[in-house]
Symmetry: C2
Subunit: 137 residues, 2 copies
DNA sequence: TGACCATATAACTATTTAGTTATATAGTCA
DNA sequence: TGACTATATAACTAAATAGTTATATGGTCA
């Protein structure tokens, strides 16, 4: 996938800027991603679809709370679910999501590394995680 | 940029899952994106760096409110600023951000389109925005 | 210097949200 | 059927957040 092509498309969808409505939708989705417990849930679901109990094992916390977070992820369109007998199985709705998380993960990781370097005496810098061959931008 | 390579990198950074610390950082960034006014601000800054007054022109609202949102974007690491005499000029800190927004924009746009089709009589579907050649996943 | 910009921040209110406990819903299995 | 399991939801509290008005900070220009 080509980045500029993609953004070109996004602009083409809204040549004179986004509508309030779609901006609200986009914000909703980002907000759904803006909570550590929900990120933990998604990390689990990136591995494979999972029932609530399985998710609960991965995240800890109370069942009620995880259930609520799942509802939020669902209303943000990030996960879907189906009933399977007694259980409810959730999965990642949108394949672009993993990509999305990776981009932020990468950016945050890079910045953390830069900060670490700024705090690290120059002499030791070459020993700090050398392999950052992947760039997001 | 290759998606799988990118996510591979993200996983490599945290082979046994993210730390609480970095998950919190990532959430902070997503949360900063989870508000329509802030998205509006970013839309303006994607065009070019801009002073607060210029941003204000693009977004509307009060100066105090925009200033507060800029502070939030800044603390999330999404924008930077420099003083220029009387003014403060803000710009997008991270080139991956535009990409990020494009991915979500695209996903939301695609879903909206699917919903629209679901609500549209079959006979008219072929007339609905045909060109969706770009895919996010 | 003083009047005037541009921007940031403080103090406040109303709303939203995460987390809790208790309970409701609905499937399974004896 | 009744006990049990899995999940969702309601009601509540505490904390976070968006927006407001008023004010502080710091540059510019006469």
């Amino acid at each position: 996938m080509d980045v500029n092509q993609l953004f070109g498309y996004a602009l083409a969808v809204a040549p004179s800027g986004l509508t309030d409505r779609s901006r609200e939708r986009i914000a909703l989705r980002f907000r759904a991603l803006g909570e550590p417990t929900r990120l933990k849930i998604l990390e689990r679901l990136f591995r494979s679809p999972a029932s609530v109990s399985e998710i609960l094992e991965a995240t800890g916390g109370t069942q009620a709370n995880v259930s609520k977070h799942l509802a939020i992820l669902r209303s943000g369109g990030l996960v879907r679910r189906r009933k399977e007998g007694n259980r409810t199985v959730y999965w990642i709705a949108d394949p672009s999501l993993e990509h999305l998380c990776a981009v932020v993960c990468d950016a945050v990781g890079r910045e953390a590394q830069e900060e670490a370097q700024a705090l690290t005496p120059a002499a030791t810098r070459r020993r700090v995680r050398g392999g950052a061959g992947v760039r997001a931008g």
